[in-house]
């Protein structure tokens, strides 16, 4: 196979695997966080506002790991450094 074909196939596969596996952890983590926040809210409805704002912040923190894998997937698909290297050769 030509190097360009290998790079194309590998980057598409890499992006799919990166998104698939990368989002598992953050999905589980967000589910856990939301579930325990809901539990806490139902036990202490007076503190619901404070719990909600803390939950949003922690959800954003957890989501960051999935967003990193999304950025890597975009990088691999659209701004692949090896692609330019082999085209220029």
């Amino acid at each position: 196979m030509e190097p360009l074909e290998i790079i194309a196939a590998a980057s598409v596969l890499g992006a799919c695997i990166c998104m698939g596996i990368g989002s598992i952890g953050s999905a589980l983590g967000e589910g856990n966080a939301a579930a325990s926040a809901l539990k806490a809210m139902s036990q202490q409805p007076d503190e619901a506002n404070r719990i909600r704002s803390t939950m949003f912040v922690s959800l954003a923190m957890i989501e960051t790991t999935a967003l990193y894998s999304l950025l890597i997937a975009f990088l691999v698909l659209y701004a692949n450094p090896f692609w330019k290297y082999f085209i220029n050769q």
């Binding site: 954003a60 990088l75 701004a79």
Partner: protein, 243 residues
């Protein structure tokens, strides 16, 4: 030699657009020799002009009337809400953080909500804008820390539990800010990308739902960015005065 080219800014991005990271900042609207203004900067100007116009309209005749206008009530409600948030998060001297947090919140919220105009590319979906916003917070952290706790108190944060933690603390300082910029960028870019990819398959109704979801994500992201900026900047403060 001045060239003005609005054709790429004007075309609706959902119909037929090449999807890519690199062409997002490369839509040149004005160019004068080597000086170029791209679509991101132009859209930032639109957001700035809108914010300035609304605040000017709301505060135009404050003294003359006895009754508040609707716009003024709305803005007062926004300021009061953010004031409550700062009071919960950043101790007794919370008033000084309010300007920064409100500015960041209003800018990001307006930029994100304007995506309901089809040809408007939100400036927050470009890495340069979000990193500039994160750089503001990065500069604001030492400013507020030195103002509140002195140089000694600020430097003490880096060797907080033990002096051996110094490299870790510096890394976490830099990467928490980087993560802030990347988070906003990733969220907005994924919203834009997802809508444009979906519209290639299912033209009319499926992208609409995703755009609606994007409005929710955009407002939550604006809230989170302002809240994280508050938390980071108020992490060092004089402990005696807070208790």
């Amino acid at each position: 030699m001045i060239k003005v080219d609005f054709s790429q800014w004007w075309d609706i991005p959902l119909t037929d657009r090449s999807i890519g990271l690199q062409n997002y900042d490369q839509i040149i609207i004005f160019s004068c020799d080597y000086f170029e203004i791209n679509a991101t900067i132009f859209n930032t100007w639109i957001v700035m002009a809108l914010l300035t116009l609304v605040s000017w309209l709301a505060t135009r005749d404050l003294n003359k009337k006895k009754e508040n206008s609707k716009l003024q009530t709305l803005l007062e409600e926004l300021v009061l809400w953010l004031q409550k948030e700062t009071r919960e998060n950043s101790g007794s001297k919370n008033q000084q953080y309010l300007g920064m947090a409100l500015g960041l919140f209003c800018f990001i919220l307006t930029a994100n909500l304007l995506t309901f105009i089809p040809w408007f590319r939100p400036p927050t979906a470009s890495l340069s804008t979000t990193m500039a916003l994160a750089a503001i917070v990065f500069m604001a952290i030492p400013y507020f820390a030195i103002k509140n706790a002195g140089v000694k108190g600020y430097l003490k944060k880096f060797i907080d539990p033990l002096p051996i933690m110094l490299p870790m603390n510096i890394f976490s300082e830099i990467f928490s800010i980087l993560a802030m910029g990347l988070r906003l960028f990733g969220n907005m870019l994924s919203g834009v990308m997802f809508a444009s990819i979906l519209s290639a398959f299912v033209p009319f109704f499926a992208p609409l739902t995703m755009q609606t979801l994007g409005l929710l994500t955009g407002s939550i992201q604006a809230y989170i960015f302002a809240l994280l900026a508050l938390v980071y900047t108020s992490s060092v403060r004089n402990e005696k005065e807070t208790e």
